[in-house]
Symmetry: C2
Subunit: 125 residues, 2 copies
Amino acid sequence: MQRQTAQRVAIEAVFGAAGRPLGPLEVLDAARERVPSLNLATVYRTLKRMQEEHAIHPVELPGEAPRYELRAAAERHHHHFRCCECDSVYDLKGCVAGLKKLVPSGFRMTDHEIVLYGTCRCCTS
Amino acid sequence: MQRQTAQRVAIEAVFGAAGRPLGPLEVLDAARERVPSLNLATVYRTLKRMQEEHAIHPVELPGEAPRYELRAAAERHHHHFRCCECDSVYDLKGCVAGLKKLVPSGFRMTDHEIVLYGTCRCCTS
DNA sequence: TGGATAATGCGAATGCGTTATCACTGCTCT
DNA sequence: AGAGCAGTGATAACGCATTCGCATTATCCA
């Protein structure tokens, strides 16, 4: 059965505190503040497990390794903002209308993805 | 100096004929109809060269290796449609209004990307 | 036409993100 | 407290896309 370990607790806490999608290395850095011995392999194992349990959901951006966000965040339809200064990704609220008019005739759209790029609040001088 | 080879001619022709973004393997398959001996390494070398010459431009979709499209296509602002049946990517015309209202206050948007998913005309039964 | 050399084909090698192996650690339950 | 075993850390190995090395081929220009 599943055990409660300091490593897993730390990793879960990191997602709760971040409130935005995180990559494996970001998780490692943040969780090491609580568990300094934490190893990247453990992060990957835990991410995989949490995914199987549907506790987290992958977030893929063009040309980048997957990040992960909590299921709670993933349940509401939303998109992402990627800061080109600090490479962080943020959740956005809402969506846009009018995507259907981009679809050529004879094509059927079942899903869509929107990514905004720019500078986040932290990096705006 | 640069030389005119059957391989390079074939690869350029493939992009002209396709009218949509192509990945290295798609290029290889198509160009082998003209030059059966064509090697994947040569495709990569040629794509790299064409990129340096700005003849083609990379197209990155979430979780996938880059495809490439002709500069002519890349010059007009546009987005892409990815067919989940055949994995082909198509160019779309136009864009949507209202992206700005997704940007949180304090953030500055400089660019954006939109990807539609679904079934293309060829795969619609 | 022939020589210099850019380009090719082939296979090995790289880089990066991710996963497997395995001895050891430390939860959990009795 | 102690046994049993899930979880961990460290490191090797993997898969994949891409690039390199090098002998061979083929283009271009005199």
